[in-house]
C-alpha cells in the first residue's frame, strides 16, 4: 500500500481542478489517482494536465472501482455536495467537502449525522468542510493573537466578503442555486465569527437589509447584490457583515475583531503583491481579482493538513458541525434580508416564534 494518501476529486470544474492541482502538485504526501465529472471536456482537460489518473463519469462507479482510494474531495455543484459526501462517508472514505455542505441547514445536518454514524464503524475517518480562511496564514495569526488574549475579550466582529463586479450576469444565474448572498459569501465571515468568538457561540438574533444596485434581476431569485447583516450572540458579542457583488477594484475581503484591550485586522488594506506604482494620477496598487487570488495558499495548506490528519490519524483541522451552524445563521440572515423581519433565537437554538416577538 502506498505511503501517500490516495485521493480522488469529484467535480472538476474551476474549483475542482484547483483542488486536483493542490493535491497532485503541492501536497507531497498525497497522490491524485482519479477524478470524476459528467462533462467529457472536463475529463479530457484533467487527463491532459495530470496524465496518469483514472477518469469517471459516474461518481459511485469511481467509489466502487478505485480499490486504493482513501480520500474524496467533493468539489461538484453545491446541490450534490451532501449526497456525494454521504456516499463517500458511508463507504468509510475520508472526505473534504467544498463549502457549503448544502444551502439547507437540515441537509447539512444530515451529513453530520451520517459522519457521526459512520465514525463508529470507521473510527479513523476524517470529514471536513473546506472553510479556506481557517487555513490562511493571516487569519491564523489573528486567531493565535486573539486566543492568546492579546486583544482581551473579543467582543465585536466585522467582516465582509465582497466580490468584484461581474457585468456578465453570471451572478444572476448563479443565484438560483447559491442559497443567496449571505449563504454564498457571508458563510465565510460567519464561520470566522464562530471561530473567533468560540465554536459554541449561540446566536440570539439576526437582522439583514439589502439592495440590488447593479443586478436588479437578482430579485427573481430572492437575492440581492449588496446586503448588510447584524448578529447578536448570547454572552455579549455582536457581529456585522457586509456582502457584495459590486466591487470595482477586485475582491475585498476583510475582517476586524475588536476586543476589550485591542483589535486585530485582517486585510483591511488589500493588495495583489508588494508593488506600488507611482504615476501622474497618484500612487496605485492592484488587488486580487477574486477569492482564489487571495486564498490560493490557504487552499494548499488545507489540502496538506487534511492529508496529514488522514495519514497520521490526528484531529482534523476543523470541526464538521461548525459548518451546520454557519449555514443556519446564513440562511436566517438571508430570510431576514427578504422578509424584512428580525429573527430571534432562544439560547437552545430554537427560533422564537413571530407571535412572541
Amino acid at each position: 500500500m502506498s505511503e501517500k494518501l490516495q485521493v480522488a476529486v469529484a467535480g472538476i470544474g474551476r474549483m475542482g481542478m484547483r483542488h486536483a492541482r493542490h493535491f497532485a502538485n503541492f501536497t507531497p504526501r498525497a497522490e491524485l489517482i482519479a477524478v470524476c465529472s459528467p462533462v467529457q471536456a472536463e475529463l479530457d482537460a484533467a487527463k491532459a494536465e495530470f496524465g496518469n489518473i483514472r477518469l469517471y463519469k459516474d461518481y459511485e462507479q469511481m467509489l466502487e472501482q478505485e480499490k486504493t482510494l482513501q480520500a474524496v474531495v467533493v468539489a461538484s455543484a453545491t446541490t450534490v455536495h451532501a449526497e456525494q459526501a454521504i456516499k463517500a462517508i458511508e463507504r468509510g472514505f475520508h472526505v473534504l467537502c467544498e463549502k457549503p455542505i448544502s444551502t439547507s441547514p437540515e441537509i447539512s445536518q444530515s451529513v453530520v449525522d451520517a459522519y457521526n454514524t459512520s465514525i463508529k464503524k470507521f473510527p479513523n475517518q476524517k470529514v471536513i468542510c473546506g472553510f479556506s480562511r481557517r487555513f490562511d496564514a493571516s487569519y491564523r495569526d489573528a486567531y493565535r493573537r486573539t486566543a492568546n488574549g492579546d486583544i482581551g475579550t473579543p467582543s465585536v466582529f466585522r467582516s465582509q466578503t465582497c466580490d468584484k463586479l461581474d457585468p456578465s450576469g453570471f451572478f444572476v444565474a448563479y443565484a438560483e442555486f447559491s442559497g443567496g448572498i449571505f449563504v454564498d459569501c457571508s458563510i465565510h465571515d460567519i464561520d470566522l465569527a464562530l471561530w473567533f468568538f468560540g465554536e459554541d457561540s449561540k446566536v440570539k438574533s439576526v437582522t439583514a437589509i439589502g439592495i440590488t444596485a447593479v443586478q436588479p434581476d437578482l430579485r427573481k431569485h430572492n437575492d440581492r447584490d449588496n446586503a448588510l447583516g447584524i448578529i447578536e450572540f448570547y454572552g455579549g458579542k455582536i457581529a456585522q457583515l457586509y456582502c457584495s457583488r459590486m466591487m470595482a477594484a477586485g475582491q475585498e475581503d476583510c475582517t476586524e475583531i475588536f476586543g476589550t484591550n485591542g483589535k486585530v485586522a485582517v486585510n483591511t488594506q488589500p493588495q495583489l503583491n508588494l508593488v506600488n506604482i507611482y504615476e501622474p494620477t497618484g500612487i496605485r496598487r492592484e488587488i486580487p481579482p477574486d477569492y482564489y487570488g487571495r486564498f490560493r495558499e490557504a487552499f494548499i495548506t488545507e489540502a496538506n493538513e487534511f492529508t496529514a490528519s488522514c495519514l497520521d490519524n490526528t484531529a482534523p483541522p476543523l470541526r464538521l458541525d461548525s459548518a451546520v451552524r454557519a449555514v443556519t445563521i446564513g440562511c436566517a440572515l438571508q430570510e431576514s434580508l427578504i422578509s424584512g423581519k428580525k429573527i430571534e433565537f432562544e439560547e437552545n437554538g430554537k427560533r422564537v416564534e413571530a407571535s412572541k416577538l
Copy 2:
C-alpha cells in the same frame, strides 16, 4: 463698524475654549470679543489666554450688553444648546451651534423653527450646526469625487465613530445627558450618510444591537459601549454604523462609500502623522487619541467658512435642517438598541406603528 466678524463664545469648557481659539487666532476675518460661562475658573482661563475680551457669567446679559456682537458660538452643555441658540436667533445673531442641537428631535426642530421665523426679520442671518466632518479636507475630497460621479451611484455606506477607551468611568457619567452612543457618536456618521446619499434621503428602517463590554454601568442610563446599526433608505441605499467607547489605540473614525463603479474610503488606515517606527516588535505608527486630534483643522475651516458666510452674506456651508434629520435617525437607532425592535418609517417620515409591523 469693524470689518471683522464680532464673535462671542457661550460655554468655554474644553470644546468651547477650542472654538474660542479658532476664532481668536486662526480666523483672520473674525474677532473674539466676549465669552460666557457660569464657571469663574473658566472665565479666568479665557482671560489669561485671550486678554482683551469681556467675560460674562450670564448668557442673556452678554447678548444684551455686547453692542457690536454679530455671531454667537454655542458650545455649552448639550442640554442648553437649543435654548441658547434660540435666544441668539431671536435677537438676530448669526449662530454656530455645536452638535447636537439637542438630543431630542422635537427640540432640535424648535431651533429650526425659530430660525425659519427669524430669517424673515433678519434675512441675512446664518445659523448652522457644527458637523465638523463636513469641513474636513479628506471628507470633502471624497464628497467631491462622489458628487462628480467617480464611483457611480453611491449605494452602500459604512462608517464608524469609535472612541479610545477611557477607563476613568467618564463615559458612564456622560451617558446621563449624551442621548446615548448613537446620538453622541454616530450622529456624525448619520450626517455623512445624508450628505453622501443626498440631504433629502428618506429613512425606511433602522435596527441596532449593542453590548457593554467594558462599562456595564452604562446600562443604568440605557446606553451601551459598543453598538452596531443598519439603516435602510428609500431609493435603494443602505448604511451600516459602528460606534464604540473601547478602542485601544486611539480614535478610530472611518467611512467608506461604495458606489456602483467604485469606492472612496476615508481614514481606513488611521495615523497620527507621517512617522513609522521600526523596532524589534515590528513597524508601528500612532493614531490620534481623540476626535480633536483628528479634526482640528476641520474645526478651523468651519470657523473660517461660517465667518465668511456671515460677512459676505453667502450661503452657509451646510443646512440647519439636516441636523434634525440626523438626530431623528440617531434617536431611532438608540431606541432600537434598547428595545431590540426594528423601527420602520413611511416615506413621509412617519413611523410605522408597531401593530402594523
Copy 3:
C-alpha cells in the same frame, strides 16, 4: 507699542506671499505691516489681499521708514537673501531668512558674521534661516524619538527631496541661480542629517553622481535633474541623498534614520490626505504636488515660533550657523556631481587637497 510683533516681508513672489499670509492670518502674535517688492503687480496683489499694509519698491526705504518695524522676513530671490538679511541685521531687526541664505558658503558665513557682530549691540536679536522641515510635526516626532534614544545611536541617514516633473522648462531657467540641485533641494536633507546626527557633526567626505534624464539643457548650468550623493561624517555616521526634478506623482520627500536599535521613517508612504480611491485599476491615492502642499503647516509653525522667540526673547528655534554648514556640504556635493571627484575634509573642516588624495 503694540503687543504684536510688527513684521515686514521682503519679496512677495509665490513664497513671499505665503509668508505674508502666515504672519498676517495664522500667527496671532504677529502683525504684517509692510511688504516690499520691485514688481508693482506683486505690490498690488498684496494690497488687495492684506488691505491695511504699507508697500515699498525699495527695501532700504522700508527699513528706514517703518518706525514700528521689529522683524523682517527675507523671501526675495536667493541672490539677494544675504544682502537684505545683513541690512536688516545691522539695523537690529529680527530676521527670518528663507533658505538658502546664499548658494555660497562664504556669503552665508558673512551673514552669520554680521549677526555675531550685531548681537553684541542688540542682545535680544533673533536671526534664523527657514529650514521648514525642522518645524514639521512628523520630523519633530521622529527627532524626539531619536533624541530620546528610542532607536539607539543614529548611524545611517537616507533622505530625498524629489520634485514633481515640470515639463515647462522652469527648472532649466531656475538652475542658473539655484546653486544646483544639491544646494536647492538637498539642502533640506543635509540640514536634517545635521539635526539628527548632531549639529556639530563633521563631514569627512562627499561623493555625488547624476544624470539629465528629462532636462538635458540643465547641463548648460552645470546642473542635473537626478543626482545621488553619499556623505561620510567623522564618528561613524553615513548618509545617502537623492534629489530629483522628475517625479510623476508629485512631491516625494522622505527620510529614514537608522539607529543601532531601530529606525524612524518619515513620509515613506506619501499621501495628499486620508482618502483612498477604489476603481477598476486598483486602489489609488494622490500625493502633494509640491513642497508647500507637504509643508504648509510647518511654515505656519515656523512663523509662530519665530514670533514667540522675538517677543519673549527666548532661544530661536534653530541655530543660524547650521545653515552655513548645510550649504557648505551642498556645494561640495554639487562640485563632486560635476567634477566626478570624491571630496574629502579634515576633521577641522579644511578640504584635503587633491594632491593628497
Copy 4:
C-alpha cells in the same frame, strides 16, 4: 527513463535543505534522488525528511554513481560553488548554483567559460545562478511594467538589502568568507539593477562608504555592517545601494525604479502578512525575519522554472553571465568601501588606472 527531472542537491545546510524541499515537495516535475554533504548529521536529517534518497559524503562520487542524475543544485559553502559547478558542468549535468558563483569575478568567469565550452558538447545543457528575486512575483510585476514602458525610461535605481540584527556575532565569522557585505547582500540589488537597466549595462564608476555601528570586529575581515554605494552606468543611468546587518524589525529589502514617466516600488512597506494589530501603543505589523521569509515562494518558482527549462529544453530563466557582471560590481564596491577610493571603468569594462584618475 523517468519523466521527472532527476535532481541531486550538493550541500544540505540550511539553504541546501530548503532547495531539497522545494524540489522534493513543491516541484511536481522534479524528483529528488540524492544529496551530498561532508557532515553526517546533515545526511541523517535529509534521510529522515526525504526517505527514499541516496546519500553521499563525496560530491564526485555522487556525480559518478547516480546514473539517472540529470541536474545538480549546488548549495554548498560559497567557497566551493565554482569548483562543484564546473565538475557538474563538465559532465553535462544541468546546474542550478546558489549565488554567488564565487566572491571572485575571475573564478565566476571560469564557470561561465566552462559552460561555454561544455554547451558545445551538451547543447541542451542549462546552467543558472540562483538570483531568487528574479523569480519573485512582485519583482516580476515591477519588471513587466518597466519593460512595457509604463514608467518611461528607467533612469534611477534604489535598492537595499538589510538583514535583521543578529547579536550572536554570526556575521563576524561569516565575513571571513562572504566576500564582504556588498558581495553577500548587495549582489541581489546589483543583479536587479542590471535586469531593470538592461543586462548589458556598462558600469562607469562605483563609490562606497561604510561603518561598523554594531559589529566593530567586522573590520578584522575588511568588512562593515552598514554600507552605502553609488553606481554610474554608461548611458545616463545611476543606482544607489544600502546594505546592512543592523535592522531591528526584520529583513528590510526594497527596491525603487524611477523612470522618466513614473516609478515602481517593491516592498517599500514591508509586512509579514495581512494582519494589523491595534494596541495602546498604536498600530503595529510584523515583517519577515529573514530573506527566506520574504522570498520562499520565489525559490519555489525558481526550482519549477529551472526544471521546466531542463525538461523542455527551453531558454533558462536568466543568463549565467549576468552573475559575473554582478559580482564584478559587488567586488568593486567592496574595494571602494575599504580603500575609500572611487573606482572607474572604461566602457569596455577595463578599470581606469588610478594614475589616470
